[in-house]
């Protein structure tokens, strides 16, 4: 009985130029974009209170560097708290939703309702109800971020091949070990797809919350600096926010690759 070697399904080893295309080229393109921006601002003499040149943004932002850093940390705190709470709510909720059709029917109206409320409109009301502190900011962040995570986690929990559930039943496994040993691991690729959306939305949610109620944070910084026509600082805050979003997103991607290497690109290759 001979066994043929299986075709290797891993990606072919990267040629040296792959790193060039994945890192160097995007960085150069970004740098070129900033240079063009700078050149246009200088060439047409665009006033800084309309569209500041990158050099002005950098100069004005660095001038109040420690303050901006403090605001960034405040926003990061809200984003991470909101993200963690979203996970803590979404995963059990997804398990409940998939546990029985009755529970799902009972919960769906509430879920849809939380999504149909405009969060920007809800924010000032929450401040009155919950007080002017971190709590309403986290609540708003969660409300913005958690929904896609619930839906993709629930989809993942339902994506298990029916044969595996039959196998689990044939082994007389408890519902708990079916969840723990089969459903949750199967849902990992879906959960991470949800986490990637959730972390991006958490940044949006935190800024929305800070617009309404905050004495710190990049959202607060944008509101106050534009009020005083310090547009370069507002742009600086905007750039920091987008970098924060990209870095957090990449951290989720890396966490998936490190902890669940089988998961990446495997969401549908279940059978």
């Amino acid at each position: 009985m001979s066994v043929q070697a299986a075709p290797q399904l891993e990606k072919p080893r990267k040629r040296p130029s792959a790193a060039l295309y994945e890192v160097v080229v995007p960085l150069l393109a970004t740098a070129a974009g900033f240079l063009v921006w700078e050149a246009i601002c200088k060439a047409f003499n665009v006033p800084a209170y309309l569209v500041p040149a990158p050099s002005e943004i950098l100069k004005d932002t660095l001038a109040i560097g420690p303050t901006v850093f403090g605001h960034s940390m405040a926003t990061l705190k809200t984003v991470l708290l909101g993200f963690v709470v979203s996970i803590a709510i979404s995963l059990p909720l997804a398990v409940l939703l998939t546990a029985s059709p009755a529970i799902a029917s009972a919960l769906y109206p509430f879920l849809v309702w939380t999504q149909s409320i405009p969060k920007v409109a809800l924010a000032p009301i929450l401040v009155v109800v919950l007080g002017s502190n971190e709590l309403p900011r986290v609540v708003i962040t969660v409300l913005v971020a958690f929904f896609p995570l619930v839906i993709s986690s629930a989809t993942g929990l339902m994506s298990v091949p029916p044969e595996l559930i039959e196998l689990s039943r044939a082994c007389k496994a408890s519902k708990w070990s079916e969840l723990w040993r089969i459903r949750l691991p199967y849902a990992i690729p879906f959960i991470f797809a949800g986490l990637k959306v959730a972390i991006s939305l958490a940044v949006v949610g935190a800024v929305v919350a800070e617009f309404v109620n905050a004495d710190a944070g990049l959202g607060f910084l944008i509101v106050t600096s534009t009020a005083f026509f310090k547009v370069p600082v507002a742009f600086g805050a905007l750039i920091i926010l987008s970098i924060m979003g990209v870095v957090l997103f990449q951290l989720v991607v890396i966490a998936e690759r490190v902890f669940f290497p089988w998961s990446t690109g495997n969401a549908m290759a279940a059978s």
Binding site: A6, L164, R169, P185, A269
Partner: protein, 260 residues
């Protein structure tokens, strides 16, 4: 011994239609007998298999193993499905050990047992590989090991080679006969392939659809050990010819050596 006595199974679809998947099926299977179920789609083969597995219950009639009625899955039954359905996150060895883990029956000998099974199917040295690194045939071998790891006395196979290419399929069929020779057990094997059914079986149960019934049970007299080379033998031919008659009706099957 597996005994089905006038088993009927009716499914109710969501819009209230009642579908009779199995009607009045009686069958008894001896210990260590190899029985194959053939028939067109919708003839209730898989339903019958799942009733023996204890995954679904008969609507009427009784199903029993060794005299005891089947009311729930029993831990001395192993199942292989059409898709290998291995766990993508677990190694080959852990996939084989999976039923023992689910049954909380892991002990110090379990790993050796699993390794011995992998050796039996020619997958020695693949223990720590991921299922993704295996070909379809190799994955199905792992699934067979998984079904055997808790040393079942009954092995239920639902079109286990249906998703494999024709060559791998033939190889796996012979492989299964060899495994069955080394570890005798009662096997109930569902298939769409008439040749496969005859090569494997002591008896072939031919089923007809809507409602699923047993059309005829055919004893395969061809001596063991068998291989696909036996296809030309008169006993083999007699069996396949009769099965084709039952499935396709007289008019589609010529006299004597029928179309393969």
């Amino acid at each position: 011994m597996i005994t089905l006595n006038r088993v009927t199974r009716i499914f109710e679809s969501r819009d209230g239609d009642r579908i009779t998947a199995l009607e009045d099926v009686s069958l008894s299977i001896r210990d260590n007998e190899f029985v194959t179920l053939v028939g067109p789609s919708g003839c209730g083969k898989s339903t019958l298999l799942r009733i023996v597995a204890g995954l679904i219950l008969p609507t009427a009639g009784t199903a029993s193993i060794g005299g005891a009625a089947i009311t729930e899955p029993r831990s001395e039954t192993g199942i292989v499905f059409q898709a290998p359905t291995l766990l993508p996150w677990a190694s080959v060895l852990d996939n084989v050990l999976f039923p023992l883990r689910m049954m909380h029956k892991m002990d110090s000998a379990s790993t050796d047992k699993a390794a011995a099974l992998l050796k039996l199917v020619g997958l020695q040295g693949f223990e720590s590989k991921s299922p993704r690194e295996l070909s379809g045939g190799m994955q199905q071998r792992v699934a067979i090991c998984r079904a055997l790891v808790h040393e079942p006395d009954i092995l239920l196979m639902d079109e286990p080679f249906g998703a494999l290419d024709a060559l791998t399929r033939e190889e796996m069929t012979m492989e299964l006969l060899r495994i069955w020779g080394e570890r005798p057990k009662t096997v109930l094997f569902v298939t769409h392939s008439i040749t496969e059914a005859v090569v494997l079986a002591d008896r072939v149960v031919v089923m007809s659809p809507r409602p699923g019934r047993i059309a005829e049970i055919i004893e395969v007299k061809s001596p063991r050990p068998r291989s696909f080379d036996n296809e030309a033998s008169p006993e083999f031919h007699e069996a396949t010819h009769r099965i084709r008659q039952l499935i396709f009706g007289q008019r589609h099957v010529g006299p004597g050596r029928a179309a393969a």
